[in-house]
């Protein structure tokens, strides 16, 4: 079927299933709702507190302008706020606050393009399939076009589908690469799930080709350079309104890509807590579908596009200052497509696992959306936030503790549904073999080893692979991790080398006659995916042992 015909056939049906947020009037309504929220909060603020709130934004924004050129009108807004503070004029301060919130809402929201969104979610799978086939025209003839062999979408898909009908779903994935968002978009499509809105960092738009897609994929914008409290509150309010509007959404609870390659252990609680807020407001208002569910999703990939930059950044002393990297592999369109083409030619290169869905407090839920207690019995979750009469008892401090619990439940799910792949295990074995050869060196010295010092006996590497393979197998049986590994150690190593060499220009594990040469940085990066399980002398993450 040609693309034009397909679009005519499918587009009208798809549009009718889109949530209200994709309709143009929503942007204006959204601004009004966010202003109403802010005005309700500021009633309780003294002049001094209001002044401090604005001052924080003025300070943070002025600081940002030292390195980032402001958008037209941005600096002027901030200076008007500064003048209102200087004159101690409450009315002017409130006007400034409104102005800032309206501008932020516009920026956050305006990436939505309903028509393009509908088209893009349908086009992307075709684009990926074409990428797969582009390197091997034979596949066009043999009909071997199935991306399912490259991207394994697994887990609680049916339950997530059911929950999407019963309430609002927040998808909370692990985050390794800027390619994760389109990948997840594809996984949602393959799983037959409805569209999800998502918060995309502005830095994702540095790659012109990817920017074309990103801006059309239902993304709302998160500018991580904006550190002011007003921006953060606006973003949280926006998220609450999304959930209240029944918009299924995804955001990365880790906040940014895992620099080290490790599975996330520490999550950002701000946005995560907005699901709990939306649920309580829905209960208060007696909405027919008040529930909000959280679905952890673990992405496990054989290769990571930005591996070399990310691990260098994690190791660099100035790592923190480069919180937002704009000059990595993702910013080069050619590298992105070369990577995709190569990765998508590898069988089982990517695993996307939908974990056990939970409520906004971290309790597991069943397909009916009911929360389950530790003994598996259905519990009335409203009683965590409502009094005996059913009225919501508002308590921000309690909600912060509840959200911390949800975060721990997510981290536990990430670790349990992480899939150990040949590249991860071979990298950990290589790293251990390097440590065996240089037992006195710490991480920093190991990554700076000279070319000849990186050589280890192949027998030593194989020994490590065999031992690790067995231990990962035991962990998998205990349900602490998933594994997709060949039984045979030689096969496992070969599989890892083929995958590493298919993309990285530096050879992660280079076979020599009796030895192998190891790239310590890349070995460390891919090895880190298996940290937290006690496999390499590392502490077992509390959430894993729980």
């Amino acid at each position: 079927m040609g693309f034009g015909l397909w679009r005519r056939a499918r587009y009208p049906r798809l549009m009718s299933s889109l949530p209200a947020i994709y309709n143009a009037p929503f942007a204006h309504e959204q601004t009004e709702k966010l202003l109403t929220r802010s005005r309700a909060r500021r009633v309780a603020l003294s002049d001094q507190a209001l002044s401090e709130l604005l001052s924080d934004t003025v300070y943070q924004e002025r600081r940002r302008y030292e390195t980032d050129r402001p958008e037209p009108g941005e600096a002027e807004r901030v200076e008007r706020a500064a003048a209102a503070i200087a004159h101690d004029d409450r009315a002017a301060m409130e006007r400034s606050l409104d102005e800032l919130i309206a501008a932020y809402t516009e920026e956050i929201h305006n990436r939505f393009s309903p028509r393009a969104y509908a088209a893009a979610t349908r086009v992307l799978p075709h684009a990926l399939t074409r990428l797969v086939t582009a390197t091997d025209p034979l596949r066009l003839i043999t009909g071997d076009l199935d991306p399912d062999r490259r991207i394994v979408v697994q887990g609680q898909i049916d339950m997530v589908k059911a929950l999407c009908e019963r309430g609002t779903v927040i998808l909370a994935p692990t985050h390794l690469s800027n390619l994760d968002s389109p990948l997840i978009g594809y996984c949602l499509y393959r799983a037959g799930l409805p569209p999800f809105a998502y918060g995309a960092g502005l830095n994702l738009f540095t790659n012109p080709v990817m920017a074309f897609w990103m801006s059309r994929l239902g993304a709302y914008t998160i500018d991580r350079r904006k550190n002011g409290l007003i921006y953060k509150e606006t973003l949280k309010d926006y998220s609450v309104e999304l959930f209240r509007g029944g918009v299924h959404s995804l955001f990365f609870p880790g906040g940014t890509r895992s620099r080290s390659g490790m599975v996330e252990k520490s999550l950002k609680k701000g946005l995560l807590g907005t699901g709990l807020q939306a649920w309580q407001e829905n209960l208060r208002d007696g909405r027919p579908k008040p529930d909000v569910f959280v679905v952890p999703m673990t992405l496990s990939t054989s290769l990571v596009l930005e591996a070399e930059t990310l691990i260098s950044d994690a190791l660099a002393a100035e790592g923190k200052s480069r919180y937002i990297i704009v000059d990595d592999e993702f910013s080069d369109a050619g590298t992105v497509f070369s990577f995709l083409r190569r990765v998508l030619n590898l069988d089982s290169a990517i695993y996307a696992t939908f974990s056990q869905p939970m409520d906004v407090l971290g309790n597991p839920v069943n397909a009916q959306g009911e929360s389950l207690g530790p003994d598996g019995a259905v519990i009335d979750r409203r009683r965590y936030v409502c009094d005996a009469s059913g009225a919501v008892e508002w308590d921000e401090q309690r909600d912060r503790v509840y959200t911390e619990r949800l975060a721990r439940a997510l981290v536990r799910a990430f670790h349990r549904d992480n899939v150990a792949l040949p590249t991860h295990l071979a990298a950990m074995a290589a790293w251990r073999a390097l440590k065996r050869r240089h037992p006195r060196l710490d991480t920093w010295r190991l990554v700076r080893l000279g070319r000849d010092e990186r050589v280890v006996p192949k027998a030593s590497l194989m020994e490590e692979i065999t031992a690790l393979r067995e231990r990962v197998g035991q962990l998998a049986v205990a349900g602490q991790i998933r594994a997709a590994l060949p039984e045979d150690a030689d096969e496992l190593l070969q599989s890892a080398i083929v995958r590493f060499d298919s993309y990285h220009t530096r050879r992660t594990i280079e076979p020599l006659e009796q030895d192998v040469r190891i790239d310590p940085e890349l070995a460390l990066y891919y090895r880190n995916r298996l940290v937290g399980y006690g496999l390499d002398g590392d502490a077992v993450a509390a959430e894993v042992s729980a």
Binding site: G373, P374, D375, I379, R381, R383, Y384, Q397, V401, Y402
Partner: protein
Amino acid sequence: MKVSVLGSGPLTAPLSALLAVAGSDVRSSAGPEDAGHGAALDHAELLFLTLPGSQLAASLPGLGLRPEHRVVVCGRGPDEATGLWLSELVTRRTPCLRVGALAGPLSPAEVERGSPAAAIIASPYQDLRARAQAALHSPRCRVYTSEDLRGVELSASAARALTAAIGMSDAMGMGAGVRGLLLSRGLAELRRLGKALGANPDTFVGLAGVGEVVAASAAAEDSAYLAGRALLRGEADPHDEAIAVTAALVKLSARVKVDLPLLEAVHEVATGRHTAKEALKGLMERAAKLGGE
């Protein structure tokens, strides 16, 4: 404040008395078999669990706790079989999330005599801390609060172990100097363990730590102190609270790789691997260390 006291531990009667003195509307239940158990569950906005720590894991599933309950555990952990703190047992084995712990020098005998008492309520939930304080605070009992639940649970448990060590040393006829040594070195161990577990070191010098040890080791009838004295006679009861928490803390310290020579010595005497004299000798012959504590 409507509160219920569930369980039949040594703290049940004195706690119920102090709650009543504070003006709380108190109901009690010894357990699910108690005719008033259901009413006690329905009545309370706050539940105090006075079951001994060693019985809590087995008892929790049958107690019928529900999401709306705010629970304060009064026993001492960790649970030896699972290594979980008692508050963790509640959140892992029941639907209750809002949980806290009660600790401090609440001696049953002294409460019965009408002496002033003090306690600390720890919970990450401000609402629970405020309710528990309102329920228990009175001119008879000062109640402090802390958000350091882990620190308070750890301090209160270690206080039992240190009190047993002091009881053993007293039975051996050691002087006040050894008491000082045991208390200060015990606190140093506690700080190390607490640091590894993410607890606030300041908590150990509060009511749940120093407060409990000083009070318990001066009270001849305290169960941990008596358990320590019994160690010298080789009559350790592994089910005794102080002996059980010492074993659990030693196990926990091994898991987080923290050295606890004093508590390990008490544990070795309790398990019959050393006599009290051998244990003391071992402690005194440890290599000297340069620097502070």
